[in-house]
Amino acid sequence: MIKVILITGRSLDQGVSKELGKFSKEYMEKVAVCELDPEDLKLLGVSSGQNVKVKTKYGEVVVKATESTQAPHKGIAFIPYGPWASILMPSATESTGMPSLKGIEATIEPAKDEEILDPEKLIKMVVGREP
């Protein structure tokens, strides 16, 4: 398990795959990911493409770890905007309307055998019923 600062944001792949549809295979492949610094991957003992579990005070989610092409950023994990990232975010907005979507404390652990939930299962988990 490693401690990181989690940031979310736009990625080119997220932008392109979003246009292919929120339920497309491509969207899940490109957005249910966590980009990590190569050193952090080593620390975790996880190779690019294996699943990891990301936890914050607000929630947890399984996504695929990938080696960042925008390194170095040791200690910082990046998840593209989307339903997987949102689960990890606080709802408090500190009187601005904006939840803190960047700069959240998180932990990451290997989760090689755990499943990445598709958007439908993810919503079902969040709202507690069939959508």
Binding site: G15, F23, Y81, S86, M98, S100
Partner: protein
Amino acid sequence: MKTIRNVVCPFCGSLCDDIEVDVEDNRVVKVRKGCAISVTKFTKYNEERIYKPRIDGREVSLEEAINEAVEILANAKYPALYGWSCTSTEAINIGIEIAELVGGVMDNTASVCHGPTILGEQDAGISTCTLGQVKNRAELIIYWGCNPAHAHPRHMARYSAASRGRFVKGRRERTVIVVDVRKTHTAKTADIFIQIKPNSDFELLTALRWAVKNGELEQEEIAGIPAEKIEELADMLISCRFGALFFGLGLTMSAGKARNIEAAVNLVRELNNYTKFVMVPMRGHFNVTGANEVMAWATGFPFAVDFSRGYPFYNPGDTTFVDVLTRGDCDAALIVASDPVSGFPAEAIRNLAKIPVITLDPHETLTTMISKVVIPTAVVGIEAEGSAYRMDAVPLRLKKLVEPPPGILSDEEVLKMILKKLKERVK
């Protein structure tokens, strides 16, 4: 086949207006000049389309769906109207009329994007300009907490770092500085990269302002950056003839939020004592700036406008959609051209799933999944025309390139129908 030139791309706030689109048999067959996202948007807009209106998952006629939407809005005590950044200015205008009529709260996606930018600007002002000015004159460009290589792929080539201007001819005549927590693909093209510690933008902006004003800093290191480097940077900013600061959600979403923007505004203001300096927010969705413009000119406030008192009331943190939802205050929602279920915190989504939601969208989204009423609409900028505002608040006209699928109307037309029936209903 016909070629339509000077098409405005309806994806990001750069609103590139030089796209060429080949259309044959009411289909887009080829797109030239667009970035990867633009080409995908223009050619794949029929993926995951919705073709029929639905109530509780059952296909219905447009009239039935509109009647149900009107009933929901008319019966709600405090409905929320949200989205608006991926539709036309004209549609947003009708949305405001609906919000006022039903005494609801109307917010746009700026509240989870550059909302804090607006708050910072309202507190401290802004020195800004159009992207044309930057292209023609800016010798020094800073990208702070933004990654145009991913989020605004043609921004650097068309308007900023590598653009060919009238007086500044291209990339070689400009100095490019990137401030970010990661060495992003944008940072890899910069002359100077400042790798800042997460959540310490306020400190660096303030230190930089101090260095601009007073020269030397007392601390050895601020935000992970050696004082010498900050002083050097301050000298560079003062020495350029025209500087532009582009900033993104690295400032608005991390610790400090609106206060970070205020610090950036104050830095730019200080720099204007020595040289010409401007700042421009990197707006995301293609018409999020328009949503702010229209709401500001119609109500006096750019987002988070509450009509429940009978007059427009603005109190971000209270009347913003995430907060309204998290408190469980609204009892119905109209979502237009947005997918809050994909991007909102879980607590907010749980409460949204408890109330009747009406969604207008061309595509299946996570929000349409939890909606009671779904009304499919035309893709603005491809199947429907309208106007949109670029990130520098320059309005451009979106074109209609092809006909929408049979029976599918634009957001503007559907909202007009809802408004007309609501007026009769609440008379």
